[in-house]
Point group: C2
Chain length 297, copies 2
Amino acid sequence: MTTLSGLSAFSITPADEHGRVDTDALRGLLRRLTSAGVHSIGLLGSTGSFPYLTRAERRRAVETAVAEVGGRTPILVGIGALRTDDAVLLAQDAKAAGADAGLLAPVSYTPLTDDEVFAHFATIAQASNLPLCVYNNPGTTHFTFSTDLVARLSRVPGVVAVKNPAPAADAVAAHLRALRTKARAGFSLGYSVDVNATEAMLAGADAWYSVAGGLFPEACLGIVRAVTSGNADEARRRDATMKPLWELFARFSGLRVVYAAANLLGICRCNPPRPILPLSGAVLQEITAVLVKLDLK
Amino acid sequence: MTTLSGLSAFSITPADEHGRVDTDALRGLLRRLTSAGVHSIGLLGSTGSFPYLTRAERRRAVETAVAEVGGRTPILVGIGALRTDDAVLLAQDAKAAGADAGLLAPVSYTPLTDDEVFAHFATIAQASNLPLCVYNNPGTTHFTFSTDLVARLSRVPGVVAVKNPAPAADAVAAHLRALRTKARAGFSLGYSVDVNATEAMLAGADAWYSVAGGLFPEACLGIVRAVTSGNADEARRRDATMKPLWELFARFSGLRVVYAAANLLGICRCNPPRPILPLSGAVLQEITAVLVKLDLK
């Protein structure tokens, strides 16, 4: 297995209302992941609120994670920033702190062109020496990678993987085939969007970048192990049991639901960064009911 | 005329490759606007690259502008930030430095709900005492304000105006009517998107928030004066002469074109922040040809 294969579990980054990371709470969350045996840890991803934290706090989070994980599990760190020079510094920080790879989202305000994104990635890869995963998340970055651009980036030294949002079950095999044909051989092809991830893995994806896996690693590892052992029926059966959680993610976003679940289960006491508001009232009762029904704890 | 009516001219913010603002160049750009007699100055708008600059540099830009303008023209300052607490600080900085109003874009990474955006605006208005203009720019912020949300915000103390992207000519009158009906009386209704702004002004909008006006104030003031004097034909004739510029904006974005034009005309030597790349080659020749044809200098 290369660094970026299997279940990559993305944690929230507990922080106070001023954006100061709660390193004890973060350690607790990461301990759940290493204990369960996830294949990599996604730190400071979208679920980890990376754009809402300062460079200093992001560095503290990486140092905390590296110390807690102790080399047992590869750590993938979100290094995205609006400015190219800021992203270079974040990548250098992550590398210096001991991260195994960087997850680079082309965060945008002014919409970017393909050439701008290509130059952004090439500059950061070259200046940091940190292996990079291309983070395609149009719902947050508002930039969409074409297959051709991913293929171009797969040939930039240091760019090792892509994290795409998984298309629906009937489209994922073709999506994967097109990427395999065009990208450099050995380039890791992985998917996010938990609801569609099981079919992506069954179609031959290398990695599942999972929001649910960051809080409930056992449930997600169960699916990945079923896929790996060739038991598609079992993988689909396990995925089907998770459906009520996928529906909550669709309605309120994975980030908001995972924060609420972490609080409801007493795993940590923390809220997402304002302006994002914590879920409340009847929604929390719904989430509690799903956690009980799925025996998630 | 209230503060936010007529032509609001949005300047680029010249800065070096590290994001250090060139205050001399900024003064030169603002002098063009005060000399021409624009009705307000838009500093640190989207064209002014506000999200790409640090708090310290944004403060320097506001202090420079306030000193240069010397109270002759109201200054509207972009105070948007991903985090609510950061936007509060930016609004307080702008107020302390002497800005007349704040332009608040709901910059997002995680997509925001209406209630989150409402709370964000109410918090910043209350904590800063700076009159706020709601900045609706879905193309960059990825949040779309409904008419109902604008109407709700128009009743928050301190929220005084909205800057909407102007719909096409056949839709703007209805858009404006719906807003006038629902928003608080006296709430300023203005539009961006230069290509559609003349029709918006002819339909009765209070303000035109203009990218072109930040570099070519005379040409845009000519249109606004024709509207104000009831000469719709003359306004439309002047707008039609600008069509080659509007087409360049549509193809390359107003920001990229205005940077190129400022350099081509020797007004300043500066590039947009990376990852945004300066226009080059044949495109610069096209822009030069348009500047010559329209006699813009």
